[in-house]
Amino acid sequence: MIDINPMVIFLAAIFTNNMIFSYFLGMCSFITVSNEIPTALGLGQAVTFVTTATALINYLLYKYVLVPLNLEYLRFIVFIITIAAFVQLLEMIVERYFPSLYYSLGIFLPLITVNCIVFAVSLFMVIRNYTFLQSVGYAAGSGLGWTLAIVAMAGAKQRIKNNNLPKGLEGPGITLIITGLMAIAFVGFSGIVQIQ
């Protein structure tokens, strides 16, 4: 694990190991928020930023606090507290100093705490024994990969908005099937770069 270039991990996290298409993570907001491209893009940016920042903090906490104290099994609690606290703090800072940004991104921030991928990145990073730089690459890549997926989905949904669908298939049903088709496309990337 030590000798993989962080850049490779970054690319792999976007294409071959995309959080949505190969790990099914972050689906909740993926299904509900993917109706318009600008909204999707906003949420994607916020998720990417939070994922990267919390992965950094969690990496340092895990390496320098939990491991020396033999408290690895507490990592779930510690990670989730870091994420919740970070999001809360970020919300307050953005609201205070960047009001315009707050109005465009602020509504997404509370959603991020329960976004699976933020937590998942921290967990995967620990399980795979990434180094510091590798973790950064992985976190940023995962966030960007998720953004790519949700923006693509928003685009696809805008195109089919006025088409007639069977009643039961509207909404989540068709979203899942489009996701399946996209996932097949992403399978085509596999083999370009390989991480676990």
Partner: protein, 210 residues
């Protein structure tokens, strides 16, 4: 009255308000473990345990919890039970723990748990909340198992590891890969939604006639 109430909780959890196809939440960790039925079953049991006991705890302390910190308290309660599950699996089923990997930890961010704690346990007595947790968990497990049934049957020709389809069967590689899970779940959601649509129409028609 009380008996009917409990029956209603179960019916709601498993069918009427099934977290996955009614609200389409909580599928984050659902799909990744559906390649084998055994994995899905263990995952389902873990979720039932966590959700039932978290709801019980949240419900017991609901009167002492200040409202504005309730979210973080719920998350902490859920994490405690997830840690118990994780340690238990590691100690007694190390192979299963490896197969499920980080997905056990990801139960914490599963929207179903927060949703039920916030939406049900916060306003209901402990026993009722506990049963509601079991019911929601069962509904969740039911979906997990139906998706993994299709994937394992066509992908490996087995059910719970036992060979059911003979040697003539050619495994469908697509069923082992992630995309199939999206398709199967999509079709299940489609089926469930059209079914309710019909039921509702019949009900409306019925009331209009009478």
């Amino acid at each position: 009255m009380a008996g009917g109430n409990y029956k209603k909780i179960f019916k709601d959890g498993i069918w009427n308000e099934n977290p996955i196809f009614r609200q389409v939440i909580g599928i984050c960790s659902t799909l990744a473990v559906t390649n084998l039925m055994l994995n899905s079953l263990i995952m389902g049991l873990a979720v039932i345990f966590t959700i039932a006991f978290s709801e019980l705890t949240v419900s017991i302390i609901r009167k002492f919890t200040p409202r504005h910190v309730r979210m973080i308290i719920q998350v902490l309660i859920i994490s405690v039970y997830v840690i118990i599950v994780d340690i238990f699996l590691k100690a007694y089923y190390p192979e299963m723990s490896k197969a499920l990997g980080p997905y056990v930890g990801l139960i914490i961010t599963n929207c179903i748990l927060m949703g039920r704690c916030e939406g049900f346990a916060q306003n209901n007595p402990p026993v009722k909340s506990f049963l509601d947790g079991i019911a929601s968990g069962l509904g969740y497990t039911f979906i997990l198992l139906s998706v993994s049934f299709v994937r394992e049957l066509f992908g490996f020709g087995t059910i719970f590891g036992f060979k059911v389809l003979g040697d003539w069967w050619t495994n469908w590689t697509i069923m082992v890969m992630p995309p199939s899970a999206f398709f199967i779940l999509g079709v299940i959601v489609w089926w469930a939604r059209s079914k309710t649509e019909k039921e509702e129409k019949e009900k409306e028609g019925g009331t209009a006639l009478s």
